[in-house]
């Protein structure tokens, strides 16, 4: 009985993924991978995701630390806004970004006067990814810093360390494993971003057409391109999950 339950759940989740690999021959896969559209989308996805992750970690780590360690008025409100993108439909996030930064948006119309356009550019791709994916890192970082015994930071302060020094030399190294897990989840979410990107950045090959967008277009026009891009995304996601597992295992062994 238990075996059947485990088999049913596993098969339900695994079968669609496995069937992807049987829908296309190795020759067709190799041919499609060499298609310039696929290569462009792959590079665009990888470099926008890396930039999104770098910005999230750079600003998100100190934000999460000071947020976790200080109480201030409106903290609950800040928490809510940080968590909101996790439950918000990505398409709504895209519309929201467009309403603010679009050419006729609240902020966008002023930027437009100075010749700055954000919507439907590569910058919009990155902004959509950060908006949708950063909460995964922020939540993880916040909870790690909250769980840390304040004695370490208090001791460091009596030894003369500033808050930024404590963050860099005590708080981050002591939570490094968990932070890496959070960063990897953010990377994965940003890589798979579709709804907000298509709304806010559009679908221009080489400029805003990331891999998930190419999957959507490919399935409609050229099935092999859609399948090949899907398989590439599955492979990258698989690697991400393995990295998370290894990091978690190392953490468990250390503790």
């Amino acid at each position: 009985m238990i075996g059947v339950l485990i088999a049913v759940v596993t098969l339900y989740l695994a079968l669609p993924i496995i069937s992807l690999f049987f829908q296309i021959s190795p020759e067709m896969f190799i041919q499609a991978v060499q298609n310039p559209v696929v290569i462009k989308a792959l590079w665009l996805s990888l470099y926008t995701t890396i930039i999104s992750l770098a910005i999230t970690v750079l600003f998100g780590t100190p934000f999460a630390y000071f947020h976790a360690r200080h109480s201030y008025p409106g903290k609950i409100l800040v928490d809510t806004f940080v968590d909101l993108p996790l439950v918000l439909p990505p398409a709504v996030a895209g519309v929201a970004l467009l309403v603010l930064y679009g050419r006729f948006g609240f902020l966008g119309r002023y930027l437009d006067m100075y010749g700055i356009t954000i919507a439907f550019t590569t910058i919009a791709v990155i902004m959509a990814q950060i908006f949708v994916a950063s909460p995964f890192y922020l939540r993880q970082a916040k909870s790690l810093f909250e769980q840390m015994d304040p004695a370490y930071e208090q001791t460091a302060r009596t030894l003369g360390a500033s808050q930024f020094r404590i963050l860099a030399t005590i708080a981050v190294p002591m939570t490094a494993g968990g932070l890496v897990s959070g960063a990897v989840m953010t990377f994965g979410r940003a890589l798979g971003e579709f709804g907000a990107t298509i709304m806010f950045a559009g679908n221009l090959p080489g400029v805003t057409q990331t891999m998930p967008l190419l999957v959507y277009v490919g399935i409609e026009s050229n099935l092999y391109i859609g399948l090949t891009t899907s398989i590439l995304l599955v492979a990258i996601s698989f690697i991400i999950m393995i990295v998370v597992r290894i990091v978690q295992k190392r953490e468990a062994n250390r503790a």
Binding site: D149, A151, Y152, Q154, T155, A156, R157, T158, L159, G160, A161, S162, R165, T169, I170, P173, M174, A176, R254
Partner: protein
């Protein structure tokens, strides 16, 4: 010399306490859990803000409500070993001891000899390269003590330093504490809830109950009625 007069309203009572500790002397602060002992140390260290206080250390004013003086923790030069000795687990023993010297911009050429000398004094030289997270309780306590003393503090404060240690380590930490407090001629406050700890090395003892001074005197003469635990 440390002179402190502290008032702070806590959840269940008001902490209203005066404490004077002479240079080169160890003063024990005793009382039951929740009596306000650690709060006093945290206020002296600057980690907690009092409602009103005057704190003077070696003639320097660290905190004075009336004159709006509040020297930040980072600049108070207090060696403070908390109840969790909080050795930084990801750093080696050597880097732990060097931490306070580096934050105070000690020239790198001086850091190494100072760290080596403190490791020798506390008999932990053989642990120098080991990650501090892998040490035993007694070793951690000695690393924390070395780290606190390496900054050449004007005051040493130890919060329950003997609780998690075996008998041998307790003797060793007590002897070392006494030796360096006398040598460096700095005042020292040790918080504990066990009378037995104070009688060996304490010059003075104060018993605190619900934020108020209940008794003070020579450690061996604590009267029966005092609230602290007499377990060994």
């Amino acid at each position: 010399m440390l002179e402190a007069a502290i008032v702070k309203r806590l959840r269940d009572f008001t902490l209203d306490f005066q404490l004077n500790v002479k240079s080169g002397e160890i003063s024990f602060l005793m009382g039951m859990n929740g009596s306000g002992k650690s709060t006093i140390l945290n206020i002296i260290a600057g980690l907690l803000r009092p409602d009103s206080a005057t704190i003077m250390l070696s003639g320097e004013c660290l905190y004075k409500t009336d004159d709006n003086i509040n020297i930040p923790t980072e600049f108070r030069r207090i060696g403070y070993v908390l109840q969790n000795p909080a050795v930084f687990p990801h750093m080696s023993v050597r880097d732990n001891i060097a931490f306070g010297l580096r934050t105070r911009h000690t020239p790198p050429s001086l850091v190494y000899p100072k760290v080596t000398s403190w490791m020798d004094k506390l008999h932990i030289a053989d642990l120098a390269g080991i990650k501090a997270g892998n040490l035993s309780g007694g070793q951690k306590q000695r690393v924390a003590l070395a780290r606190a003393l390496a900054i050449e503090p004007h005051l040493l404060m130890l919060d329950e330093p003997f609780t998690a240690l075996d008998v041998e380590s307790i003797h060793s930490v007590k002897d070392l504490t006494l030796q360096f407090v006398r040598e460096m001629m700095i005042p020292c406050i040790v918080v504990t809830h066990r009378i037995a700890d104070s009688t060996d090395i304490g010059d003075w003892a104060t018993v605190i109950c619900q934020g108020k001074k209940e008794w003070e005197g020579i450690p061996g003469e604590i009267p029966e009625m005092c609230t602290i635990c007499r377990c060994q």
